[in-house]
């Protein structure tokens, strides 16, 4: 187990390195660097930057060195000082832009993840156990559609019906009258009223994928000889199901932590954009469009790190739950 853990940790470090390199390349791709962009912005506003300011900024961001030195400078600032650079669109440090929104993003993602599990699990199990039933066909069809419809389209369809039926779109995370109120039942209900559209839109693709995986895994398990053997010995269906195949089929639930997170975050970009949620998605999008590269790069970096950590956690959980995976790596 320790060997397995060490191996995963080394992989994670290598991946993080690779991600940071890619992010840095993305940051430095657009022509011109941060200081020239800032200078252009200030001169539009009619305030020139003095030469000494420019020089200080250039030194601060290490812009005069070669690309490797710049990368070194950038990564050490992050690792040692937690300094992600400046957002020239917001005119404040990147960390201050991201910080307050990170909580909401992770919160929504987490709630959606739990909801996806809660919905996908019974449907997946049902459609595997009752294969070729009407319910199974319905679930499979809906699952197919869920994967085929881009999530922004789902959002647009929801908005269309919301406007035609209720005359408005619930935007933001709370209604004005509840935003400043302290937490009570009314506020929670209000929050739920605002959360259901984002949750459905963000979660659909994940639920569809999960149902498919659980169904396939469980079907594979149910065809195994040990299931037939147990049935021949007279173990009741419910007990048989709970006891063995279900546990094996549960593995994908754990490994979803890795791949569902980025999916949720993209859903967040889309939904946050339309429903103006206080999450990272809309900020990332506007930063990308304005080529505010420190901000955009940092958000991509943060999201990637969260994903990689999620993958690590799920790998460790899997290794702990399933000896085949743990031992398979040792050989």
């Amino acid at each position: 187990m320790i060997k397995y853990l060490g191996r995963r940790a080394v992989y994670m470090a290598a991946t993080l390195m690779a991600i940071s390199l890619v992010v840095f390349i993305i940051i430095s791709l657009p022509p011109g660097d941060f200081v020239t962009a800032l200078r252009a912005k200030y001169s539009v506003m009619g305030q020139g930057l003095t030469e000494s300011d420019v020089q200080a900024l250039r030194v601060r961001y290490g812009l005069d060195g070669n690309i490797l030195q710049q990368y070194w400078n950038w990564i050490t600032q992050i690792v040692l000082h937690g300094d992600l650079g400046m957002s020239f669109e917001h005119s404040k440090p990147v960390a201050d832009v991201i910080g307050p929104r990170l909580g909401a993003t992770l919160g929504i993602s987490l709630i959606t993840l739990l909801m996806s599990w809660g919905i996908a699990f019974p449907i997946g199990v049902y459609s595997a156990v009752k294969q070729h039933s009407i319910g199974d066909y319905a679930a499979t069809t809906v699952g197919f559609l869920g994967l085929a419809v881009p999530n922004f389209l789902i959002a647009l369809i929801f908005i269309y019906f919301s406007v035609t039926w209720f005359g408005s779109v619930p935007s933001g995370l709370c209604s004005p009258e509840w935003c400043d109120a302290s937490w009570n039942l009314g506020k929670v209900l209000d929050l739920l009223g605002h959360l259901w559209i984002p949750m459905i839109v963000i979660g659909t693709a994940g639920v569809a994928g999960l149902v498919r995986i659980i169904r396939n895994n469980l079907l594979d398990e149910l065809r195994r000889p040990y299931v037939t053997a147990a049935r021949a010995r007279g173990v009741s269906e419910g007990r048989l199901l709970r006891r063995y195949p279900l546990r094996v089929a549960l593995n994908p639930f754990v490994s979803t932590i890795g791949w569902v997170l980025p999916l949720l975050l993209v859903g967040d970009i889309v939904v946050g954009q339309i429903l103006s949620l206080p999450t990272l998605g809309p900020v990332l999008l506007s930063a990308l469009k304005a080529q505010d590269m420190y901000l955009a790069g940092s958000i991509i970096m943060v999201l990637s790190v969260v994903t990689v950590i999620g993958t690590l956690i799920s790998d460790l959980l899997l290794g702990w739950l399933d000896p085949r995976i743990r031992l398979g790596h040792q050989r």
């Binding site: 993305i26 881009p150 922004f152 647009l156 779109v169 990308l288 469009k289 955009a296 958000i299």
Partner: protein, 385 residues
């Protein structure tokens, strides 16, 4: 390993069912795959849809009733018109004739919103192979005939309604189909070239080359793909010709997608490496390249085609989402994603739900490629039973 031509006529074959068996046994692999594919009804229907889409891609300008730049400022955000075969409200009662009803528009003086009512008295004659905007077929042959259109050039015939700036939605969808579907197809081909090259080398040679390529793939897979292509797409210079942008976006999508395909190809090569026909080809003096691409690759080409078809949907979805977010293709290029930008303001959308029709095209295309891929995957190995 199964023989290419199936079983020869066995001596013990029964005379009674010999005919069907002989036909079965002597059928080429291609025929067997085709028989197996035909059983998959959904896949066959989907294949027809894809063929129709291919025709639209090739004959774009002919299929679209209007030219790409056609813009009717009198009809902005007009609802779809219903194509009618006859009408009963003319002067002489019932009469045949393909037509659509014109619109009466009315503008609200306060909100400036234009509302349209169908006007049965205003009959717009519709015909096939009518003269319309001029274009060059295949970019070469000048022509002005269109598959369907108003008989009098310039009459309004908007079968799926118009966009917010008065373009015919149907024509625009036709133009977008060429762009969106081809991004998927070209992107997958690019990804496949990369995937086959690296996967083949990795699986065929094994050893340290395999190790390096596998670690590389793992690294690529570990970097979350979606933020990655968002970032790269955004880092592109904003002033870029539509054609250059199209190819760069396609390449980005391919660069993110090749890893899964490389894995698939590697697995196949690894499994086939120890087969007798590979050894015999090597003993006959074939070079590694020839063994890999003339002997091994063709033996699972149907699997590859299935995998190709199954990877196109995610490309199409990625392009659509990127373009919708404003980071992929940009106007004047039209793709399904670019078209859907029109629908993203809810004040517009609530009055003009037909602007979501390009989304329907996305869903249909994605499902069709998926079903065809599924059908091919099941049919790819006709000797399985």
């Amino acid at each position: 390993m199964t023989l290419k031509t199936g079983l020869p006529d066995g001596e013990g074959a029964d005379a009674s069912d010999a005919k069907g068996n002989v036909e079965r046994a002597t059928a080429s692999q291609r025929t067997l795959v085709w028989w197996a594919f035909k059983k998959h009804k959904l896949a066959v229907v989907s294949a027809w849809i894809l063929i129709a889409m291919l025709v639209v891609i090739v004959l774009t300008e002919f299929v679209a009733p209007y030219g790409a730049r056609h813009r009717d400022s009198e009809y902005t955000t007009a609802p779809p018109q219903v194509l009618k075969l006859w009408d009963t409200d003319g002067e002489d009662g019932f009469r045949w004739g393909l037509h659509v009803d014109g619109h009466v528009s009315e503008q609200d003086p306060r909100s400036l919103r234009i509302t349209y009512e169908p006007d049965p008295d205003d009959r717009v004659e519709v015909g096939f192979f009518v003269k319309g905007d001029e274009y060059r077929l295949f970019g070469l042959i000048p022509w002005d005939r269109h598959l369907i259109g108003p008989k009098h050039h310039g009459d309004p015939m908007y079968l799926l309604g118009t966009t917010t700036d008065g373009q015919d939605l149907f024509s625009q969808i036709v133009y977008a189909t060429r762009v969106s579907a081809s991004v998927g197809i070209i992107g997958v081909l690019l990804a496949f070239a990369l995937g086959i090259a690296l996967g083949a080398v990795s699986g065929y040679f094994g050893g340290w080359i395999d190790n390096i390529i596998q670690r590389l793939i793992e690294l690529f897979m570990a970097v979350p793909s979606i933020p990655l292509w968002l970032g790269i797409a955004a880092a592109l210079p904003p002033h870029m010709g539509p054609v250059t942008r199209y190819f760069i976006i396609t390449t980005i999508l391919a660069l993110v997608a090749w890893t899964g395909l490389a894995r698939e190809v590697r697995g196949r090569f690894l499994a086939l490496r120890s087969e007798e026909f590979v050894t015999s080809a090597l003993l006959d003096g074939s070079g590694h390249g020839r063994v890999m691409f003339r002997h091994m690759l063709p033996s699972f080409s149907s699997h590859i085609i299935a995998a190709l078809s199954l990877s196109i949907p995610s490309m199409i979805l990625a392009e659509t989402s990127l373009s919708w977010l404003g980071l992929g293709l940009r106007p004047p290029a039209v793709s399904w994603g670019v078209q859907l930008q029109d629908a993203s303001k809810w004040s517009v959308l609530s009055n003009a739900p037909w602007l979501l029709i390009p989304g329907l095209c996305v869903v249909i295309a994605v499902l069709a490629f998926n079903f065809v891929g599924d059908g091919l995957r099941d049919a790819a190995d006709p000797y399985k039973h």
